[in-house]
Symmetry: C2
Subunit: 146 residues, 2 copies
DNA sequence: TACTAAAACTACTAAAATAGTAGTAATTAA
DNA sequence: TTAATTACTACTATTTTAGTAGTTTTAGTA
């Protein structure tokens, strides 16, 4: 039960865009460098994010990506959902008819619950939250020694 | 982010043992038939459960498996933990040194939280709970038409 | 207009994980 | 002694993961 690099890199990509929200296009080269992720791989990962309209792209020179919504309005669930595809934790939760034991199965109920708990957790965390955490962690309150 | 059949089958195996708790050895053939799972595959899955002392085995004719503890005392976390191996949701949560960005990374904190939420959810569900659900679902209160 | 930097698209690939199967050996109750 | 059962070892096909590689399109700018 592993979270793919795809999802994790995708979240970090989106975090970079959130950190630069309001500053125009950010190109993937920059993100790849900051986050230490293969540029080519990133350029694959961003495609579904664009298709899902979580980011807006601009091609050509000085092109790049921007968030299509404010960081407060993008949850990690939005991102992970797009990048994990339609994969559910367990197939029978998404599609009851995929298992003929569904009607008598009690474990299905548990996996459904677990799916909900995961979704709820991811839904309550937004990019804005990550930005706050980032600032706390990497930009501690500055003291000026004069 | 998928739960393996290994874990899911393992839980169903344990549920079968819980349903038959107190009735002596249950052999895998029976479980395989009831749960519609390959006998050979089940016999692989049960090995780590035995090694983790969640079940006790008896070899030979009339052999089989029994729960080593009462159903109330076995949570789904116990089972899934054993069957997923030491795989964490995300490697860096289990082992901070696995990623050199750990000290500056804020997504790690989120994955750690998600891991905890998953663990907590699985920890609160015991085999006894599954047995209750099973009885409710498959043995509705009987009415006698005389 | 030509150049350059960027996204977009298409195809391929090595490695690992998943979900099993197959066959044999050891054990034990009857 | 036999039959039933667990235990052990090895193998395998398929899918997923985590990328790489190369080309094409687009758009700003000198």
């Amino acid at each position: 039960m592993r979270l793919s690099t795809r999802s994790r890199y995708g979240v970090r990509l989106m975090l970079e865009l959130a950190l630069n929200y309001g500053r125009g296009n950010i190109d993937l080269k920059e993100v790849a460098k900051n986050e230490d992720i293969s540029l080519k791989y990133l350029s694959q990962i961003v495609i579904p994010l664009r298709q899902a309209r979580l980011v807006i792209s601009q091609r050509g020179s000085r092109g790049g990506y921007t968030l299509s919504r404010r960081p407060e309005e993008v949850s990690l669930k939005d991102i992970v959902q797009v990048l994990e595809g339609d994969l559910a934790l367990v197939e029978c939760v998404r599609d009851g008819s995929s298992c003929r034991r569904a009607s008598i199965c009690v474990t299905q109920e548990i996996w459904a619950k677990l799916s909900r708990v995961i979704d709820d957790t991811l839904m309550t965390v937004t990019l804005a939250d990550l930005v706050s955490r980032y600032n706390e962690k990497n930009c501690p309150a500055q003291t000026y020694d004069i």
